[in-house]
């Protein structure tokens, strides 16, 4: 009887353990598959040409494999998104944690979270068919597909990621430190900028990094509204292509398994993976740091 129970307990623990370990298996498969498929790509295309070429035309009769246009496209949409999301997200976080009455905070927060729940394809629709036509009224040079409009929409979409993590970090600053500032006659604004933000710095940095990683990896908004044109440009009014939207473009066509074109999406994938991996790990350690500080 005792033996039977022990066996059952052991069996259950083994199953649970395998489930937890499956996350490791997922990461390993990502790395293996990305490396395996892009190995075939880099065997044919020298890595120098890949990293320094300014033309990306893998599907042309005379293909070119310079990744820089995808880099500038990603940089462009990401930086537009961040210049919207970081200030708005931080200001909203300060407002919610230090200014807003309890009731306002409890209503605004779930609504902000909803922003992250809307399917990105709907945001793409909105960027292409609502925002771009409006922007064109003010900027006549703006082409129908451009980096600006999806960048702005992505920025608003990312606000909740930035604001909720920053707000948590600011609320984690102990009350007695905040009181120290108020007791000196400081206003809420002075307390927020001179005491709370420095104290919550690593948490706010982590929030920014989550935002950056989201913006780099966002796919559908740019795929729909930025035009899928690999332009080597920093002009936000022109159509561009990002790493993500390139993968979408190739996947939409009928590219046979094992061809060089097929492998290009894994090469783009591995570049994307390492960029976001870098930011994710940085963000993870910054967040771990706030936890140990207080």
């Amino acid at each position: 009887m005792r033996k039977k129970i022990r066996l059952k307990e052991f069996f259950i623990e083994a199953v649970l353990f395998l489930s937890a370990a499956s996350s490791i298996f997922i990461t390993l498969s990502i790395v293996i598959i990305l490396f395996y498929e892009s190995y075939g790509f880099f065997k044919k295309i020298p890595i120098i040409e890949f990293l320094t070429g300014t033309q990306w035309t893998p599907l042309f009769a005379e293909p070119r494999f310079g990744v820089l246009p995808l880099v500038t496209g990603t940089l462009l949409t990401t930086s537009i998104a961040l210049s919207v999301a970081l200030p708005l997200g931080l200001i909203a976080a300060i407002y919610l944690s230090e200014y807003a009455p309890h009731k306002v905070r409890e209503t605004v927060k779930p609504v902000l979270e909803l922003l992250a729940a809307v399917p990105t394809v709907v945001y793409g629709y909105f960027a292409l068919l609502f925002l771009t036509p409006i922007l064109q009224k003010f900027i006549p040079d703006l082409s129908g597909f451009n980096a600006l409009s999806p960048g702005i929409i992505m920025g608003i979409m990312i606000i909740p990621y930035v604001s909720s993590v920053s707000e948590d970090a600011m609320r984690a600053v102990p009350m007695h430190i905040k009181e120290g500032s108020y007791a000196m006659g400081a206003t809420r604004l002075q307390t927020a900028f001179k005491v709370i933000i420095p104290a919550a710095f690593s948490g706010i940095a982590a929030a920014f990094i989550i935002g950056i990683s989201r913006a780099i990896g966002e796919t559908m908004v740019v795929a729909i509204a930025a035009g899928m044109m690999p332009n080597f440009t920093f002009n936000p009014l022109e159509p561009v292509q990002t790493f993500t939207s390139y993968i979408v473009m190739v996947s939409l066509g009928d590219v046979p398994h094992g061809t060089l074109e097929y492998k290009t999406i894994f090469a783009a994938g591995i570049a994307l993976f390492f960029m976001t991996l870098f930011f994710n790990i940085l963000g993870f350690f910054l967040r771990a740091k706030i936890r140990e500080r207080y």
Binding site: H176, A183, M184, G185
Partner: protein, 262 residues
């Protein structure tokens, strides 16, 4: 008590008259009246939960930070004759004149220098020379200058607990407060650091009026000139410190200082 109030009437810095205080619907302070002498140390003692910290925090309107708190009555600040707790007076204006040192050292995540300069910067003073002078003067005033003068730009967290608390005193002194409030300033410190802070308080009363909350009766006896014993939100007895500790008139006071409860 009446003979004493006549004797000190011209030397008052502040006077509390019929103060009531409410946390929402709960009344935390009941009908408190108390004179605060100029350049003297007034101690507030009593068992935990008696309202002494609540009372102290009325003086610089810390309760205004949280919704639902309400004051009734007057705390008059002399010589201007303004009522500190009047709703017409901005709490920030009060806090600029009445500084506070907290129970737990709470330096800001900034350098030692910037911690002391904080109150001045909040007041819009950014002149380097003035800041340097005032920072040095305050650190000397808090008996910390010799220990930190070579590392003013290190992070304040690197100081020991006692040093951090003296830094907080320096921070409070930098703005030339008219009253300095101490909320159990040594409860988080070891005996050596505690005696340093006590010496400092005795020295500081030459320049500034001090109110100190303490749960340590020996401390009250050592540093204060007059002592108020509080119980359940009321002042039970107020008198010269030596009188309170040697010949209290109320039974409750006697029981408390002889350690029979609290």
């Amino acid at each position: 008590m009446s003979e004493m109030s006549i004797a000190i009437s011209e030397k008052l810095k502040s006077e509390v008259k019929n103060l009531n205080f409410y946390y929402g619907a709960v009344q935390a302070l009941k009908n408190i009246s108390l004179p605060i002498e100029r350049r003297k140390v007034t101690a507030l003692i009593g068992p935990s939960g008696c309202g002494k910290t609540t009372f102290l925090r009325c003086f610089n309107r810390m309760h205004d930070l949280y919704p639902g708190n309400r004051y009734e009555g007057e705390i008059i600040l002399y010589p201007d004759n303004i009522n500190i707790i009047s709703t017409e007076i901005d709490p920030i204006e009060i806090r600029m004149q009445i500084s506070m040192v907290f129970q737990k050292p709470n330096p800001f995540p900034k350098s030692i220098y910037e911690n002391v300069a904080y109150g001045l910067r909040v007041r819009g003073i950014n002149n380097k020379q003035i800041l340097n002078e005032r920072v040095e003067k305050s650190l000397r005033g808090a008996a910390l200058w010799e220990e930190v003068k070579d590392r003013l730009h290190d992070l304040a967290f690197e100081l020991s607990g006692g040093q951090q608390q003296r830094l907080c005193i320096a921070r409070a002194l930098a703005t030339d407060p008219r009253i300095l409030l101490f909320d159990e300033p040594t409860s988080a410190l070891d005996p050596t650091a505690t005696s340093k802070i006590e010496e400092l308080i005795i020295e500081l009363k030459n320049e500034v009026t001090i109110i100190i909350v303490t749960h340590n009766m020996q401390q009250a006896a050592r540093v204060s000139d007059s002592t108020a014993f509080m119980y359940l939100g009321e002042i039970i007895e107020f008198d010269r410190t030596e009188k309170i500790f040697t010949a209290p008139t109320k039974k409750l006071t006697e029981e408390y200082i002889t350690g029979r409860f609290g």
